[in-house]
Subunit: 137 residues, 2 copies
DNA sequence: GACTATCTACTACATGACGTAGTACTATGC
DNA sequence: GCATAGTACTACGTCATGTAGTAGATAGTC
């Protein structure tokens, strides 16, 4: 039995191409449509106007900002990658962590430790802090 | 600037009605379409066949299982709520926690503590465990 | 000026997911 | 036979996303 797959990375709550575009803007921005298109087209065929439409829609959604420069628009991300992800995770966790159980927390810690053991230490520090703060109130 | 809203609860990766149906099956299952329909219809107008379709689709997706009983089907959830949520969160976090940073972790801990301070202790325990395990290897 | 390249605005289509729900058919009970 | 109950089948609308062509305007080059 397969649980429906959550998408990962910036694609989380965006379409695949949207996520790819956003990632590109984070890495290279401020950028024009042409630049993003060049970058994407290096790997596959995609029409210029497809890229342009997606960027325009992302701007409508507020994830990208744009300013005119000559005849073109220059796009930048509306928030840094870290900030975006913090918000995404925040929203997700706020809805889910009520009644978190041990297997869930266990998995969370494992995911963290798998990447970088320093994260575990960081998390432990944060928790100590919070518990200290709690003990004082 | 508003980050697109993540949906919360069982609705996370399902539609609204799908999530509601799944929740109903968890609470009352094994159930027939009629029972789920009665429960949902208590609060608003909804056609029997709408409920039936949604349940049928959830079964196709593998989230519900069904067995014939007389002319009807009896539906059950394919996995318990906890298990489902663990999987959902697992998939989400696996894609996101690479390069987790301090603000993100801070928020995570805060979300946890806001609900139930016991969770913080539980998490601290789990971390200690993992760090001990790490120190032994 | 003509031509070419570049860019956006405008437009449109397809697909899939989801919610919605009626109709037809069948089986069962009275 | 009639009424009820249940599924199969069917269909439609909306929305999000990916896809991309065309038209028109602008700028640069010859």
């Amino acid at each position: 039995m397969q649980v429906p797959k959550q998408r990962s990375g910036p694609k989380q709550i965006l379409g695949d191409l949207e996520g790819e575009v956003l990632e590109c803007v984070w890495q290279r921005g401020p950028v024009s449509v042409r630049e993003v298109h060049s970058h994407l087209a290096a790997r596959r065929e995609i029409a210029y106007t497809t890229v342009m439409t997606v960027m325009s829609r992302l701007a409508e959604k507020g994830l990208l900002q744009r300013r005119p420069e000559g005849r073109a628009f220059i796009y930048s991300a509306s928030m840094p990658r870290d900030e975006y992800w913090t918000e995404v995770v925040k929203n997700f966790l706020d809805g889910v962590l009520q009644g978190a159980n041990r297997p869930l927390l266990s998995h969370f810690v494992e995911s963290l430790a798998a990447d970088d053991a320093a994260q575990l230490d960081l998390l432990a520090d944060i928790i100590e802090e919070k518990r200290r703060k709690r003990a004082c109130s």
